[in-house]
Symmetry: C2
DNA sequence: TATATGTGAGTGCGCACGCATTGTCAATAG
DNA sequence: CTATTGACAATGCGTGCGCACTCACATATA
């Protein structure tokens, strides 16, 4: 295998990085200035809202994110100080702690999520028709299926 | 505009994030364990290798990256301590400083870049034929052209 | 030339993170 | 029941970064 990219390969890969960086920069700036939360904090609030009764274990949150348990513990700390979550001891496991979405957290999340979705639609999704979005999804599915196969062994 | 994603939209956007995260995680782990450099340091070495005589101004490096000038100054510091770059005063501008690729930096970069390209090909590019890669590139081009239009005003 | 304004690089400080460790509790073995 | 091992959350420490600032120098203006 060659140690160089073809022009087509270099473009397909390199510009993917640029597109991702541009979108993330815009999303993070919007979340910070309008809602005073980082993108990581936003994602935690979002996962909590999906969970039953708006609560998840710290460890579970860490596993479904890019953070370690220690980083997640501190992130939840910040959310607690901001009043967006609270901690609750796990009744069934004395070691465990839940992060629980507060009323204030739900309200902040609803607005932040709406802005988040609007920005992604406006800047990214609106550029492609449904057929093209399906095509993109098919590309990602192919990648993720290969990942699932190779990480299991 | 709706405040929800359609299933197709959510997949096309959400899985793009997953694909990017998976690739970046693999690349960063490879660069760190095999070459003892971060991905940001790798990109700086790469840009230096593209520049004439392997030298660029700190400010210029910062502008073409995600870092601020202060962050870039410190990143170059680390590269200097590792022996991969050296600093040189700019003769034409007494304020300025160049980061210059050393021999050791060139050697490290050549190997790291080969590994980087091999990993991207193996894990990502090899999943798609040339027609599909062209299509991906066309999607990215559409996005970046829109960005160029809207950021200029 | 003399002064004011702008720019490049570097630094003190605060913040967020990972790693290693600790404290607490659960689960298993004897 | 006791001891060992393992798991969850939290914390001390080191590191990398941005922001605000400083210093050195360049550029513009009178």
């Amino acid at each position: 295998m060659s140690t160089k990219f073809t022009a087509i390969e270099g473009f397909a890969w390199g510009k993917l990085l640029n597109v991702h960086a541009s979108m993330m920069r815009q999303l993070e700036e919007m979340l910070q200035t309008q809602y005073h939360i980082s993108h990581g904090e936003f994602e935690v609030l979002l996962r909590l809202s999906w969970a039953s009764e708006g609560r998840m274990r710290i460890r579970e949150l860490a596993e479904t994110s890019v953070l370690t348990p220690s980083g997640m513990s501190r992130l939840v700390d910040r959310l607690v100080r901001s009043g967006l979550t609270r901690r609750e001891n796990a009744p069934e496991d004395g070691r465990g702690a839940y992060a629980v979405l507060t009323q204030s957290g739900q309200e902040r999340l609803i607005e932040a999520e709406a802005s988040n979705i609007a920005l992604v639609k406006q800047r990214f999704l609106s550029l492609y028709n449904e057929e093209e979005l399906k095509q993109l999804g098919a590309f990602w599915r192919r990648f993720l299926e290969q990942e699932a196969n190779t990480t299991n062994r």
